[in-house]
């Protein structure tokens, strides 16, 4: 039995089963079980790379292995966190905003759990799919599976975020579908949209249609990935979703959308349009960095702050790929680092939200004294997300910059450094203000559940991993990263 | 100059006033009335020509010149049109642009004369006429361009005649162009659903209000010019649809005249079955005409 269909089937079936289950304990157990099974199956992929399944529709190359492992790991952490979150009163009594002072009954937990699992299944399908049509179908499925998750709190604000997310992403993804059809037009009559067939026949692709297709796919999947100026949905959805969902959106979903861009980049390289594709990526990357920097300065909502930081890091990923050479390796490593760190931060943000009951930066003080572990994680996350040593993000950003210097693209180097500095300063100002100082003496802290192990250990583990990878990259990981970079025409 | 075409031109100039009479008979039939005689417009014209003209003190020479310009432009435009079997009296590459501009010239004088009277009602009519024609003229021009593109000829005699390509390929194009031309015909001649020629409410009228101040021979000229215009648009429409038909000149002339009668009948039927559109809706109709014409162009872009 091939493992690939199983990877998709396990979460999907578990998701269906969760809908039927009545007792919360069983449901949560199933969520954890599916996450663990998925992780174990993925881990198996590191030992024996499974053979392609379904007549080559599903296959696992180095790129998919890398992204699948990230997704699986993050989901495992998120599953544990979600159980802790569902046990807390926060999930039952929705967060209250000062301006919208009413409570709503959240969506039944069953829908939440099964949507989480469907989300995982759809993301796995995206990552494993070798056919652009199937890829699109799965990508749209991730949007649909995650929309109810964002709506979990059922506040007017989350409703607004859900609507924007649904509409913007659906329209963006629709453009990607058009791009997929353009790709078929480029391949001519009887086109086979399997990645391998397209790579083999890349020389025969009509360059005009291919260019238009690449542009549309960049825009389409770039919308989903949150590249500026297509990022409009991202801050809203990330700030209004439950924190565990934000962690998955930012850490896993954005990566899967990025994979779509990587795939079309692969084809562009094979068809001799590498320069076109790389220029586009650099442009998108710089724009994202710039937009993120502008909105991070003086941001009043710390979850939105993290969302804009995601825009920034997606920009760095695009830049890395656009610069080519060694930067491709850096970009892939950065994707891994960003996922780990951003998931840590969003989960920690969830803990802060539970303790302070507000997302306003101005109302959070002295996190280190009120919630010591989360406060420390928040502080560590600051250094990790801004690319300070010894975290893995430092390593990857350094590799990307080094590659830019080596190809003497000084303009790009200066702009990146400048924007990164601006982002570092503004984020540090906000994060330090939140963690240090005296905690407010408000009744919120009295009702705060304290820090349960369920919600502290997952981010802690992810942060530790980001730290370890910064000082020691295991040989198998380096090998896979190199193999993946080679697929994308990088060294 | 093709002197054989003098015959059809003379026929057009003589028979043009028949079309409004025909339309009125159809409407009368639908309403269950006997209706005015077929030659009513001839009687009217004869009566008006015998009368004297009255001019308002505010009017200038523009007001007096306008009906004559209208008739002259109409007659010249008809000379550019091929009728059944024979090419037009005047034919040269690009003459379809001249056709559009001749109609524009007539409209320009009509509108100017209406403004010349200084009446607010006529000003209102003039503004509407200009507003609608701003949409109708492009549609007309684009439709002709589509035909030119499909037939490969820049002359009306060619593009309204037998164009290249086999019929099944060209049929959608011809139908689209014809649909656009039909809508333009209804607008340019102020028929239902754009304007109701029966009403004499100044607030709703288009064409009627523009000629409100004319009397005697001037009114006769204005009415005759309108009849010429109807014949002209009808002829373009008929030739668009039947230009590809083979046959001797006599047969083609017969087909052409039969086509014109059909157009008049169709206008009469439309007028009997439909109500006038709300004024703000008329541009929507004309935008649809533009869309049809544009589709015809696109369809003709890569023939074969």
């Amino acid at each position: 039995m091939n493992g690939l269909p199983l990877l998709v089937a396990v979460p999907a079936l578990a998701g269906l089963a969760t809908l039927a289950l009545r007792t919360p304990r069983l449901r949560r157990g199933l969520l954890l079980g599916a996450a663990v099974t998925h992780a174990v199956l993925t881990l198996g992929g590191w030992r024996y790379r499974p053979a392609p399944a379904w007549h080559g529709w599903l296959a696992m190359d180095a790129l998919s292995l890398l992204f699948l492992s990230l997704t699986s790991l993050l989901f495992l952490a998120a599953a544990f966190y979600a159980v802790g979150y569902l046990r807390s009163p926060q999930a039952r009594v929705a967060e209250t905003d000062e301006d919208e002072n009413f409570l709503f009954n959240p969506v039944p937990e069953a829908v939440f759990c099964s949507c989480l699992l469907f989300f995982l299944g759809a993301m796995t399908l995206v990552i494993l799919s070798r056919h652009f049509g199937l890829f699109w179908v799965a990508m749209e499925a991730t949007t649909l599976a995650s929309a109810p998750l964002i709506f979990f709190h059922r506040t007017p604000r989350s409703l607004e975020a859900t609507w924007k997310y649904l509409l913007i992403c659906s329209v963006g993804i629709a453009l990607a579908l058009l791009g997929t059809f353009f790709l078929a037009a480029a391949a001519g009559a009887g086109a086979d949209l399997k990645l391998d067939a397209l790579l083999r026949g890349a020389a025969q692709l009509d360059p005009r249609w291919l260019k238009a297709a690449a542009l549309l796919l960049f825009v389409g999947y770039g919308t989903k990935m949150g590249l500026a100026p297509l990022h409009a949905w991202l801050p809203d959805a990330h700030s209004e979703a439950p924190s565990v969902v934000s962690a998955l959106l930012s850490g896993a979903l954005l990566n899967t959308a990025w994979l779509g861009i990587l795939r079309i980049h692969q084809i562009c390289c094979a068809a001799g349009l590498e320069a076109f594709s790389r220029d586009l990526l650099v442009l998108f990357g710089l724009l994202s960095l710039g937009v993120a920097a502008v909105f991070i300065i003086g941001q009043a909502d710390y979850k939105r702050l993290l969302a804009y930081s995601s825009v920034e890091h997606m920009g760095i990923l695009a830049l890395g790929l656009g610069l080519g050479g060694a930067a491709v390796y850096g970009s892939l490593l950065h994707a891994a680092g960003h996922s780990l760190v951003k998931a840590t931060l969003f989960m920690t943000a969830g803990n802060l939200l539970a303790a302070y009951r507000t997302k306003a930066v101005a109302d959070v003080r002295g996190a280190l004294t009120l919630v010591p572990v989360s406060g420390a994680l928040w502080l560590a996350g600051l250094f990790a997300i801004t690319g300070a040593p010894p975290f893995v993000t430092f390593l990857s950003e350094f590799i990307i910059l080094q590659a830019a210097v080596q190809s003497s693209r000084w303009g790009v180097v200066v702009v990146i450094l400048l924007l990164l500095a601006v982002i570092f300063v503004s984020m540090a100002a906000i994060f330090l203000r939140m963690t240090l100082g005296h905690a407010p003496k408000q009744p919120a802290s009295a009702t705060a559940p304290g820090e349960s192990r369920w919600v502290v250990l997952p981010p802690l583990a992810l942060a530790a991993l980001a730290l370890v990878l910064g000082v020691w990259l295991p040989a198998p990981l380096t090998a896979v990263l190199r193999e993946a970079a080679a697929l994308l025409g990088g060294g | 100059m093709n002197t054989v075409a003098l015959g059809p031109l003379a026929l057009a100039l003589a028979a043009a006033p028949l079309l409004p009479g025909l339309i009125n008979r159809v409407k009368a039939f639908f309403a269950g009335r006997r209706g005015p005689p077929l030659f009513q417009l001839y009687y009217d014209l004869a009566k008006l020509l015998r009368k004297g003209a009255v001019y308002s003190r505010t009017t200038t020479w523009v007001f007096r010149a306008s009906p004559a310009v209208g008739v002259a432009a109409g007659a010249l435009a008809l000379a550019l049109l091929p009728s059944g079997g024979t090419p037009a009296l005047l034919a040269f590459p690009g003459d379809f642009v001249l056709l559009v501009y001749l109609l524009g010239l007539a409209r320009f004088f009509l509108v100017l004369a209406a403004l010349d009277t200084g009446s607010s009602f006529e000003g209102l009519g003039a503004s509407r006429e200009v507003a609608f024609s701003a949409l109708a003229e492009p549609a007309f021009l684009i439709a002709l361009a589509a035909l030119a593109r499909a037939s490969g000829s820049l002359s009306l005699s060619g593009l309204l005649g037998a164009g290249g390509g086999e019929l099944p390929v060209r049929l959608p194009l011809l139908l689209l162009a014809a649909a656009a031309l039909m809508l333009v015909l209804l607008t340019e001649n102020a028929r239902v659903p754009v304007d109701d020629p029966n009403t004499h409410l100044e607030l709703t009228m288009l064409h009627e209000v523009l000629v409100l101040d004319y009397s005697g021979p001037d009114l006769a000229f204005a009415l005759y010019a309108a009849a010429l215009k109807l014949w002209l648009f009808g002829a373009v429409l008929v030739r668009t649809l039947t230009g590809w038909l083979p046959g001797s000149p006599a047969l083609q002339t017969a087909i052409f005249l039969a086509g014109l009668v059909t157009v008049a009948l169709a206008v009469g039927v439309i007028e009997s079955c439909m109500a006038r559109l709300r004024l703000t809706r008329v541009p929507h109709l004309l935008i649809a005409a533009n869309a049809f014409a544009l589709l015809a162009v696109l369809l003709g872009m890569r023939q074969g």
Binding site: G133, E160, L178, L193 | L298, L299, G300
Partner: protein, 219 residues
């Protein structure tokens, strides 16, 4: 050749549907129009197949499914949302109807211009322009109408345009993918319908202009 003309006729119908969508002031008219457009679309793959081959399962399955989903399920879902949400029946445009219609004609011209640069071998010359014009119309409706349901209609028009293009390009597309796409769009409309219902319940309106709590610039 006969098929060719029929295809052109269908495409002209699509354009007329676009114009109606742009010019209509009532939501229910728009919902019906976009459904009719979808049904017309479902016939396209039939005509595009080389000759009218109604024998194979594949050739019949997709058009039938498309017609059912686009012609029956979508209007049902949207009308249900319309009824249960008690929303206003006017589309509430930001951009007036006449400029909207002019945009529709302009989109056709843009489509023709782009099609001249991206030649597609075979098929009707109207196909690419009309497909692009339909997509642009959909995007325009999403931007230029306030009603949340109208944005769903715009999304459907966008999808219709893409489908029109895809049906002619992907002649031997795997059934799995086509059905997957259809299923995705169906679920998307389903979830959007539910969301519209919730929006109308929470806010007592479905005017998307007033969904503006989340933003970073406050004027």
């Amino acid at each position: 050749m006969m098929l060719h003309s029929l295809t052109s006729l269908l495409l002209v119908f699509l354009v007329l549907a676009n114009l109606r969508l742009l010019g209509a002031s009532r939501l229910n008219v728009c919902i019906r129009t976009v459904a009719a457009q979808g049904v017309a679309l479902s016939l396209l793959p039939l005509l595009n197949a080389s000759g009218l081959s109604l024998t194979s399962f594949h050739a019949l399955a997709l058009p039938t499914a498309t017609a059912l989903v686009k012609g029956a399920l979508f209007p049902w879902l949207l009308f249900r949302a319309l009824r249960e949400a008690h929303v206003q029946r006017e589309v509430e445009p930001y951009v007036g109807f006449t400029p909207s219609l002019l945009f529709g004609v302009g989109s056709l011209a843009v489509g023709g211009h782009l099609a001249a640069r991206l030649p597609l071998p075979g098929g009707s010359p109207l196909l690419v322009p009309v497909a692009l014009a339909t997509m642009l119309t959909g995007l325009f409706l999403i931007i230029a109408r306030r009603q949340a349901l109208m944005q769903v209609v715009g999304y459907l028009a966008l999808e219709n345009g893409i489908f029109a293009f895809g049906a002619s390009v992907m002649k031997e597309a795997p059934l799995l993918v086509e059905m997957g796409i259809l299923l995705d769009v169906f679920v998307a409309v389903f979830i959007m319908g539910i969301t519209v219902f919730h929006i109308s319940r929470e806010f007592e309106h479905t005017d998307t202009e007033r969904l503006s709590a989340l933003k970073d610039w406050s004027p």
